[in-house]
Point group: C2
Chain length 341, copies 2
DNA sequence: GCTGGCACTCGTATCGTCAAAGTGCCAATT
DNA sequence: AATTGGCACTTTGACGATACGAGTGCCAGC
């Protein structure tokens, strides 16, 4: 039996009602709450077909139907239009983000904003170093044998780390190194930095090489490799408010939110900047997240996304609203980053 | 009826059993599991007294007894000795913390370690700025009219922020300002910085004052005031694993963990560095946290604590173990910070 | 002051019943 | 061929009754 137009209407109605009520929805309730123009018996037949095709399922015989992952997928892909944000929401986005002074500030405001708008858990990735170029490297002597290395990117990220050296460099050497380092790497993307920095020690007098290599090694290893990606999280408390049916997911989800590595995998490598991606339930292979959905998108001024941001919540979420919120916030953040450029 | 020695034994046994099983404990179970040397009837009498005095309560008639907040308080204050850590735990602390290179690294390792050792949520406050002195101020020009202000303390904290200026300062002015600023504030504690910095603009030529005040204002307002305190959190997923009776607490607790302000209030102003503080249930006035306990202590090499760290979990927690873990970690972190000094 | 015994209370588990919700199917209708 | 009304069937959840077990409180005796 083919899936005709009306059956899609039925599926759409089921998803909407289920998301709203969190209870399995039956044929009678459907004809009551929606203008479908046919009787409940007809709906029942349609529902039987939809179940055969795997779009919906019943928790037990003679309960209402619940959308499956496949059902949500169809809903998201073809049955829902993006819900325009309310004026209040647009205003909230603006007033929340406009006061930001800093990249750090932008990111932290963004993640809290997303959590608040969607009432779910939000994640924002800092602009990826692999998409950034070096704007400046600063070396600050911290007395004795310790140097603070600060790395600043064109995207506004500031990474810093202290290096312990066997021997304290004097100020002249440090100044010299700072100048050479900047001359060498400013403007380069991070892939190219590695090869260039390896040459640095050779430019110095043999007695200074040990110090210089130490700093160079840190620059590479810890600033470029270790902390390449960085994420901010907010709104975990929102997850605890969803019905108890979502409880079994809570612990694995909270774990995932604490593990950078897992989180980055879930965010996905931001592809094109524009479209919002939805991953539903089982679609994200991470174990324990089989009833969690993830709505992500890239952000950044240009074609190439600088990073990803997104929202995590139960599969039973308001997709049109969430997609709209994520999209709108990402666009606005992109604008801000462009202006701050 | 007075509370004699044996009644205290009974209370101790009740707390231990309840923490272990999470179920109300009855007189029979008590004599079975502990060598109390008397019969269950006697225990019943003792329990009746303990209930009269408010140390224990029964969820309903003819159920076992459960410790009250007051009961836990007595247990913590007088009935439990700090449980020595296992060799494995000591080893874990060492191997976890020894690789730290940085203050950031120390803090982030510490908070994860605490969460793992106690299987609860952990919080670590960065060394308070009010207990730190300025080690260095660095100004980095970021092209155009933007300057990065970096502040470094003797405790290793590095705070940075970008200032937008109406007019780009030239390098000479920036260098001059950096020198004067450092001459003025290095070594000062933060309370004194404010008054000193206010004088800075007067030392410059009138045409430069606008730029200089901008930077000075940022230094004060955003680096000293805004971000005075800073905390790291880990182990929230551990909270989701406690029995469902703790569920009602979950959302308020997760909210508290996301709110710096609330969190700092809960951590309490680290008083003396040595003793571990326990706040039980209702004792922390924060609403919604009436069955959450908090175990905190200060850390830092000297007499004055630099900051606090602690653990949050259900009132029904293993106090001796948690207190031992928090204490041991704080001592070890203090050592590390002392060595890195 | 401790103990054994016993009556009492109350929560939980079990069972049967019942009503409500929902389905699937079929025969009749359009 | 699609839709509809009707009806029998299934399952859940609520309700009540009952039995059971755990645990208490109290008392008389040691």
């Amino acid at each position: 039996m083919p899936i005709d137009e009306r059956k899609l209407d039925v599926l759409r109605a089921i998803v909407k009602d289920y998301v709203a009520t969190q209870e399995p929805v039956g044929s009678k309730a459907l004809v009551d709450r929606h203008q479908l123009g046919v009787s409940s018996a007809t709906i029942r037949n349609d529902m039987a077909t939809l179940e055969d095709e795997g779009y919906i399922a019943q928790p037990h015989t003679s309960a209402g139907r619940v959308p499956t992952d496949k059902g949500y997928r169809l809903f998201v892909d073809r049955l829902s239009s993006v819900k325009p944000l309310s004026a209040a929401e647009r205003r909230a986005i603006r007033s929340f983000l406009d006061g930001a002074v800093d990249l750090d500030d932008v990111i932290s405001r963004t993640v809290r904003l997303l959590a608040q708008l969607t009432r779910q858990a939000a994640v924002v990735q800092y602009p990826s170093l692999s998409r950034s170029t070096v704007r400046h490297v600063e070396l600050v002597s911290l007395g004795a044998a310790r140097v603070l290395v600060v790395l600043i990117t064109d995207t506004g990220r500031v990474e810093q780390r202290v290096v312990e050296l066997p021997d304290g460099p004097d100020d002249a050497l440090l100044g010299d190194l700072r100048a050479r380092l900047n001359a060498l790497v400013v403007g380069l993307d991070f892939a190219s930095v590695a090869s260039k920095v390896a040459d640095i020690p050779g430019q110095f007098a043999p007695e200074d090489r040990q110090v210089v290599s130490g700093i160079a090694a840190t620059l590479l290893e810890s600033l470029v490799e270790r902390s390449e990606e960085r994420v901010a999280v907010a709104g975990t408390a929102n997850l605890a408010r969803h019905g108890h049916e979502f409880d079994s997911e809570l612990e694995p989800l909270l774990s995932a939110l604490e593990e950078q590595v897992v989180l980055l995998k879930l965010l996905g490598h931001a592809s094109g900047s524009t479209p919002v991606t939805v991953r539903i339930g089982q679609e994200n292979a991470t174990s324990g997240l089989s009833s969690t959905s993830i709505v992500t998108t890239g952000y950044g001024p240009g074609e190439q996304a600088l990073g990803s941001m997104g929202v995590l919540g139960p599969t039973r979420m308001d997709y049109p609203g969430t997609i709209a919120a994520v999209g709108a916030v990402a666009r606005y953040v992109s604008q801000i980053l462009d202006a701050n450029n």
